[in-house]
Symmetry: D2
Amino acid sequence: MIVVMDLRVGAEEIKAVEDMLAEYGYRCHAIYGEERLVLGAVGAQKGEIPPGLETMPGVIDVVRITKPFKLVGREVKIEDTVVETGKIKLGGGFFSVMAGPCAVESMEQLSASARAVRSGGAVGLRGGAFKPRTSPYAFQGLEDVGLQYLRRAREETGLAIVTEVVNPSDVARVADTADIIQIGARNMQNFPLLREVGQLRKPVLLKRGLSATVEEWLMAAEYILSEGNYQVILCERGIRTFETYTRNTLDLSAVVLAKRLSHLPVIVDPSHATGHWHLVKPLALASMAAGADGLLIEVHPEPARALCDGPQSLTPEHFNELMTELGALAPVLGKKLWQGVEESGS
Amino acid sequence: MIVVMDLRVGAEEIKAVEDMLAEYGYRCHAIYGEERLVLGAVGAQKGEIPPGLETMPGVIDVVRITKPFKLVGREVKIEDTVVETGKIKLGGGFFSVMAGPCAVESMEQLSASARAVRSGGAVGLRGGAFKPRTSPYAFQGLEDVGLQYLRRAREETGLAIVTEVVNPSDVARVADTADIIQIGARNMQNFPLLREVGQLRKPVLLKRGLSATVEEWLMAAEYILSEGNYQVILCERGIRTFETYTRNTLDLSAVVLAKRLSHLPVIVDPSHATGHWHLVKPLALASMAAGADGLLIEVHPEPARALCDGPQSLTPEHFNELMTELGALAPVLGKKLWQGVEESGS
Amino acid sequence: MIVVMDLRVGAEEIKAVEDMLAEYGYRCHAIYGEERLVLGAVGAQKGEIPPGLETMPGVIDVVRITKPFKLVGREVKIEDTVVETGKIKLGGGFFSVMAGPCAVESMEQLSASARAVRSGGAVGLRGGAFKPRTSPYAFQGLEDVGLQYLRRAREETGLAIVTEVVNPSDVARVADTADIIQIGARNMQNFPLLREVGQLRKPVLLKRGLSATVEEWLMAAEYILSEGNYQVILCERGIRTFETYTRNTLDLSAVVLAKRLSHLPVIVDPSHATGHWHLVKPLALASMAAGADGLLIEVHPEPARALCDGPQSLTPEHFNELMTELGALAPVLGKKLWQGVEESGS
Amino acid sequence: MIVVMDLRVGAEEIKAVEDMLAEYGYRCHAIYGEERLVLGAVGAQKGEIPPGLETMPGVIDVVRITKPFKLVGREVKIEDTVVETGKIKLGGGFFSVMAGPCAVESMEQLSASARAVRSGGAVGLRGGAFKPRTSPYAFQGLEDVGLQYLRRAREETGLAIVTEVVNPSDVARVADTADIIQIGARNMQNFPLLREVGQLRKPVLLKRGLSATVEEWLMAAEYILSEGNYQVILCERGIRTFETYTRNTLDLSAVVLAKRLSHLPVIVDPSHATGHWHLVKPLALASMAAGADGLLIEVHPEPARALCDGPQSLTPEHFNELMTELGALAPVLGKKLWQGVEESGS
């Protein structure tokens, strides 16, 4: 850590800062400039910044030298984490597609969706039984019945189930059904929920918050890993900007950055990122080219009848087209589009 | 609702949209332009937008004519809601100040803070027993012990207690202590938590999310009112922008707008909004001038020793100065700076 | 256009609005709801919104039904505009790469850069002779000498020259040298400059402003086309968001959207978008996958000695690698990576 | 300046960085931590960061210790700059209001506006003769005729004229008419224009760019001062955020910050910041309370007939109300609402 001080303060103020740093286990090295004093503080075991340091007289700035995350960082684990569950395999060159409707609406709708995405080449089925909605008057999900439908869809198709949990007290029952538990963007910093899923030994898909920095996103993942659950999948789903033609702004730099800073797999949800089905295909291809490890795509057998997010859902036909193009792109990018089984001879 | 269609589609597509609207109880009126058809849809009881409407062939845009919120809107209740609890009175011209440390750290620290803010003229004591922190390794609050200290501070000073809840399962025990339950910015769209505090019959202080629009903020309040709890206080605490000199960007237009659109009281937290104590006083005065109904201010007896958010905490001396200036400003603005009792002769 | 009125106003106010609309050539159709009156206004030749309409008593909202841009829109020209100059060919499936240093620093530096990017497969040479810099004390470019070096580099390598103009009074002399005139992000809404380059009959590369919406970007292009210059290349270079790890946030949705709304070619500058050379390659590949028509890349023979933007410059080696990967990707995406000549047999 | 290096690189890389720093006149002090080396570089006369430093092998981060601005900073001039011209006096406790229409439309409109704002207590008349508009098809201003009208309005009312210049080649003729030359938000980083007005010895009103940081805004002012013109007035006019109910988001923290970092006067334009006349009054009062030195307000005799920005214009009646409230507020805040003459006895 570096502490920048104003040289116009007296020796007493400087000593107070040095004492505070010593109290937290730091050794100080001073560099005197003409107007500023720079204290380089090294050697503390815990690397904690003394609280209140920035408010001490004469302190102009406190600059952290090391990254605040630990377990999620590439510095502790160089090789990619590969997450595997059911037919899904993500990371280390394996690229998996999870698809399905925004919300589970009925067994018929879910079943049609599941068969369609399975036939297109998806290995996971997404679908919400608990839906966080902006309005209290909007459809909030089928809850337990939805979970039951998801289990039946898994039996029918073999797809791994990706579904969201919004309340810490529901984690156990959702985990009972889900192969991958999803934490939505609005809950990225719902710390009791993060701690709760950190207790599981199941993969967690952690969406980036609407206006979360990459560092905050990684720190949210750190919450889960720090509880002992190392199977975390990061999911970029667009950030909020001033642009109004799209629902959000997909941030593919964040994908590249997150993969550079962390060993965790990173996937993209181009459906929520854009809000328009016709933007989904080009951005899905771009996500793979940027280095993402997978995709989460909304597919609905009849988008115009979807109870939620119809405008951003692909039809099964468009989904098939997308999968074909991803299949052609993958080998050029050194990726393997994972279909659930090692192909013979490959 | 207005549905804009492309006239190059056929009569069949137009009929499909009209049928869909009819199914949801709308009567349609068509206006033919040269390239566009505008369907004005009126008369539906529930005013619900048919799901998937935007994805129907030929539909270019769907424009909502009425606001999505109901109970929080000025249209259902013209006069200001006044929230009263303990010495606090907010709204309808009454301006209350709640102050105290970011986190409850010890009985000594809390007691010193409480006495200081009481003597300065605050009517509420803020202080977190449960702290949502970006890092899992940062101080997370004293939890139950913190709640106990808050109760003792209330006994000592008579101040009403404002404290945060982060987990739906903690609502009952926090409500047991708190006079006003706080929902933090990160939890503005934690819908299970909103529903849970909606069950209470105690005031709820709802902070605006880091990147929430005013409409989303009001819709979050609508969740609480729709459960039967009408005592909601909105709190602007800064939004996230590109500016890096300040922690967040205080948005006083949102205060004016929220008070125009809604009957609920709106207060400001200039401490979190700016992150620097020296910006707090001018922005606190500006908040009152913009029409806010109160303030939430961080005060710490020894900011340099604060376990959380020291740089944005006022000392008791600075807090006293601020209260004096607010006291001078209030009558010019037609506000009453509430001190917990009706002054004789006023 | 649609005008939404509050039905609580009287017949007089409604008539005033109808008269105003009639004055501008509109015919009105009224749709009465329960609380709102919707006036659909059609038929005006010029489609102008009467100034002040929104402030008339009873008017709640004015909604534009048609897009504000005309000449740049797909509605007036369905097929892609292809821009060709020197070896460059952009649009309609042709993908060109323009590369070079941020600023022209010396003939040696420019010459080395030009030869390096030519050998890697670039068809255009970028390099600024006039540099808009945040600080008045930073290097501002070699100006006329820089232009002279650019002409020599073109003679040596045959590369087309892309260089920026910042002052309307310099347009003639910069156009004398440039094959493509660049308008930088800070000047996207410098309207006198846009009008001036609109007078030319040379391609203009128009960068998106730091916080410009896609609509504003297209309207800026409309300025140039409305002066008679139809050769405009749109360039996405990242927008400003709250993220601090990257210089800007690359917005590939804007590329997809701009290509959908407009017939103009759209390219990407991943160097300025990210500010870090190690993010350039993955985002360049992603840009091609998203449908971009070309790239603008910073390459410097010795990035650590660059007078400007060294951290985001590729070395010639990294640039060669990128070109090889783009070459492999292009056919899969149905693009032709243009090298300046039609390959025999292709 | 501080250079953070990775200790895993060898002695050679460290020496290369030290040599580069020495070349630019720095003396280095090294602090060895466990994983990082911190080089404190002091003593260089010009304080320039060696270009390319960040790209040198082993360099993780370069942290600037001193602010990049010089002439505009409080460090070189502690006392407030007071700008005086005609009846206007801004800074050092003097608060002036400049008001008028967005655009000069006709002599009648301008004359009516000027008389109205004069009678309300304004000391300056704003009005654009050159209008930067998003669409090439919108009204672009009366240009020279507009300037002539402004001169006549000054003769009639004695108000000082504030008007915008958008093209460097127009600076001389606009300066001929204007008492204060305005640089609009879109031109905050139009450096040739800044240099040109820097040659004048007349006050320049510099609006903050739509997404400019406070530092960039001050650096733009630095351009003007560095050319010798020290009379710069900073004007906050709202920044672009995700909020859609308002045109922009007024950022009053920026006012407080700019006044803290710089000695220049800072005013607020609440009309452009909000885009709605009903938000103007509360935010104008809030601006004064936050410490602003003046206001720029849109007033139109007949907002519904305004050719530009009618929705955000106050009527003369509303303007009078605002001035009365500002007059009551000023003494409480230790400000003098300047009316052009020292009042007798005050």
